[in-house]
């Protein structure tokens, strides 16, 4: 067990650091999570330097590097205030699916621009009646000659409003059991018949969208994988999701530690309150546990092992901790804690934002309950749920009010 870089790793880190110093300075030292143009320019610069999609083959625009190198660059890049969140879903989930299932021409057309940040991709799986039951898809695609015509509704589509392309999972056969009648396509999100409406979240913002399809016509050439074979493709996409989620930020033990050092308790600073200290220690143990678990995952990756569903623990722990930390800081304010004005609250309202955002994080990408089922079934080998819908045609399945 060794936290130190090997010689080769140290060399890579030094080069990455030099490159970042040179390019960040030249490019923009500021933080610009909401400025898409700047984010795209930075992505293009990384691609040119071999630092975009570091583990992908160079022939597809990647860096041809190792998982550890990718981690090292990520650590160094994180010291600068740049943001790549526009590309997370596309490069983390959608484009790998295109690379695995599309023909050569399609790959040549799309992979390069995605790596360079020229084009942004969205993933369109979730539906109002689906949720945890991802395969309960009602959006229909009906064959019409060499085309397919899509009607229906997707929901919780992150970034659809700024994306150029998407991969979409649709039902092509409702007469067979649920998982057997699905097909995957890529499509142009600007195509006629697609309407994108932002979802107003309880936390105030609109990170997600509803996407409505009305007679959207696409070519059969946009199909990814076989007709009615889309579930297997979706599983490929979702396997990559687990690695992408769970590292998301928000406030953590370090933040509330800094806050508590100057916050008023009943008898001096909150940080001197023994009850707070016990709780803080538990959060620290969780956060450090997750950080070190990621180190173990990276070690496995570097040995050529594929990380399994055990990485599901990250989001359960992190999301619940986020809610607890946010609320604890809010409650620590006593009456004052109700004030949500960023100008008047600690960390510019970050704890309050966490309190309102954490419920969503506990749901997105798999609820607490679904993730525990995954751990129980796929890691521990416990029996799966009794599947009353197993052999029934999709159209006969009961639905709610």
């Amino acid at each position: 067990m060794d936290f130190k870089d090997s010689d080769a790793e140290a060399k890579y880190r030094a080069a990455a650091r030099d490159w970042l110093d040179a390019n960040i300075a030249e490019h923009d030292a500021g933080h610009y999570p909401d400025d898409m143009a700047k984010s795209k320019a930075w992505q293009a610069r990384k691609a040119a330097g071999g630092y975009a999609c570091i583990t992908w083959p160079q022939e597809w625009g990647g860096g041809g590097g190792t998982p550890i190198e990718s981690v090292i660059f990520g650590q160094e890049e994180a010291k600068h205030a740049v943001d790549g969140s526009y590309f997370t879903i596309g490069l983390g989930m959608c484009v790998p699916t295109v690379m695995a299932y599309a023909d050569d021409a399609t790959k040549r057309r799309f992979v390069g621009p995605a790596v360079r940040g020229d084009e942004i991709w969205s993933q369109l799986f979730s539906e109002p009646a689906g949720g945890s039951d991802v395969a309960a898809i009602r959006t229909r695609a009906v064959r019409d000659g060499d085309d397919w015509v899509i009607n229906g509704q997707k929901v919780w589509t992150s970034g659809a409003h700024y994306s150029d392309y998407g991969i979409v999972l649709v039902r092509t056969n409702p007469d067979v059991p649920k998982h057997q009648g699905l097909t995957m396509f890529w499509l142009d999100l600007k195509a006629p018949g697609i309407e994108i409406r932002p979802i107003h979240q309880m936390s105030g913002g609109s990170s997600f969208n509803e996407v409505w399809f009305e007679d959207v016509r696409i070519s059969d050439a946009q199909r990814l994988g076989p007709v009615d074979g889309g579930w297997k493709v979706a599983l490929f996409t979702l396997m990559n999701e687990r690695l992408a989620i769970g590292t998301s930020g928000g406030v953590g033990p370090e933040d509330i530690l800094a806050f508590a050092a100057q916050a008023n308790g009943a008898d001096g600073p909150l940080l001197k309150d023994a009850a707070f200290r016990q709780t803080l220690a538990d959060w620290w143990v969780q956060s450090e546990g997750l950080r070190n678990t990621r180190m173990r995952t990276i070690t496995a990756l570097s040995k050529g092992q594929v990380p399994g569903p055990e990485s599901s623990i990250g989001k359960i722990v992190a999301a619940n901790q986020l809610q607890a930390i946010g609320n604890t800081a809010v409650e620590a304010g006593d009456q004052y804690g109700i004030i949500a004005d960023p100008a008047l609250t600690p960390l510019k309202g970050a704890f309050h934002a966490a309190t309102m955002w954490a419920p969503g994080l506990r749901i997105a990408g798999g609820t607490d309950e679904i993730l525990k089922n995954i751990i129980a079934e796929r890691v521990l080998g416990l029996p799966g749920e009794i599947r009353v819908d197993k052999d029934q045609p999709f159209r006969d399945l009961p639905v709610g009010a």
Partner: protein, 365 residues
């Protein structure tokens, strides 16, 4: 021995529920939520006043119905269930209770009838910044009948006519007007309004003779029981919503309410709500009977209710899944209100500390 609402009280409670179902649907709550200029629902306020609820516990000689505190608890439970966007707690649990506890006959005669009639909105101003309110944290002073200081936040401070202000040496009555300025605050629960109040030589009169913190705590003890019933009503509503959704929503061909993880989550909610209800009832008894047990019973009721509402409101969102995270869902109204009610009379941690302090005093006696 009878540890339940009486039949008359049950009738009153049922009527209150029906009335609020008709006059305070979630559309009305949302109308306040979505309009930042709207501090409360003025129509509902008038309707509630017309029902006599504002004066339920105010003696008839001061213009109230003189029913007693158990009846007020029953009303509070229903207001909490409806997430009512009105300054009821500030006016009734804080200011009317403070007047009944500490007011001179002159003060009672002057204010209580107007409160009962809905003509006066009240607010209690204690906090002066982040952290628990203590003797050290209070800088507001009174000199020559003029009060000076800054209070933040003051729930309903922007719409209050009459403000009970905690100064260093005790509680004071201040009429909103001369020497008082209000800045509306952005809060976690926009269905309830709050402000920063700045007092600059504001005319005031003393309320009672108790020491400041002791007087605030005496008011808080009474309010805590009433707030506990609002919290209980809210928590109960969250369980109802979660149960309804769990029965309506299907996943993998089954109602999600059939999965043990959801069943046990809702059972946990039920357990917490029942403990909160039983503790609230005991608090109601202590409040109504003027029992010496009130400080301990109030702390117990408040801690139980705050815990139950937080759990129910957050796990209600989880039970609803993605739908529960949308603005359109009513789940977040209760999540927000659970925060507002947990903090408006001091945070749960402060009440836990007070609870144990009461146990120590009892054992020392």
């Amino acid at each position: 021995m009878n540890f339940d609402y009486s039949d008359d009280q049950k009738f009153l409670k049922d009527e209150a529920r029906k009335f609020l179902a008709a006059h305070c649907g979630s559309d009305r709550v949302r109308a306040v939520l979505d309009d930042s200029a709207k501090a409360y629902d003025a129509d509902l306020w008038k309707a509630v006043a017309a029902q006599g609820w504002l004066g339920a516990a105010i003696p008839e000689e001061f213009g109230g119905l003189g029913l007693g505190h158990i009846e007020l608890c029953a009303i509070a439970e229903e207001l909490g269930r409806a997430c009512a966007p009105i300054p009821f707690a500030s006016t009734v649990y804080f200011v009317a209770e403070a007047l009944m506890l500490y007011g001179s006959d002159t003060q009672k005669v002057r204010w209580l009838p107007r409160i009962a009639a809905g003509d006066v909105i009240g607010a209690l101003a204690t906090s002066e910044g982040a952290g628990p309110v203590t003797a050290r944290s209070i800088r507001t002073t009174v000199s020559g009948g003029k009060l000076t200081g800054e209070k933040i936040p003051v729930t309903d401070g922007d719409v209050a006519d009459l403000i009970v202000v905690l100064a260093r040496d005790g509680l004071y009555l201040v009429e909103n007007g001369v020497g008082v300025t209000a800045d509306v605050l952005e809060t976690l629960d926009p269905t309830r309004s709050a402000a920063r109040l700045t007092f600059t030589d504001a005319p005031c009169e003393r309320l009672g003779t108790d020491d400041g913190i002791a007087a605030m705590q005496a008011v808080f003890d009474r309010a805590a029981v009433l707030l506990a019933f609002e919290q209980l009503g809210g928590a109960d509503r969250c369980l109802d919503m979660a149960k309804g959704y769990a029965l309506d929503r299907y996943a993998f061909g089954r109602q999600i309410g059939g999965y043990q993880a959801i069943k046990h989550k809702l059972a946990d909610m039920y357990v917490k709500n029942e403990l909160a209800r039983s503790n609230a009832y005991y608090g109601a008894w202590a409040l109504n009977a003027g029992a010496a047990e009130l400080p301990l019973a109030a702390a117990t009721a408040r801690v139980a209710a705050s815990d139950a509402y937080w759990f129910a409101s957050k796990e209600n969102i989880q039970t609803h899944g993605g739908m529960g995270f949308t603005w359109e869902s009513d789940c977040h109204l209760y999540y927000r209100r659970s925060r507002q009610l947990a903090l408006v009379a001091g945070a749960p941690a402060v009440w836990r500390e007070r609870l144990v302090g009461q146990l120590e005093m009892r054992n020392a006696a």
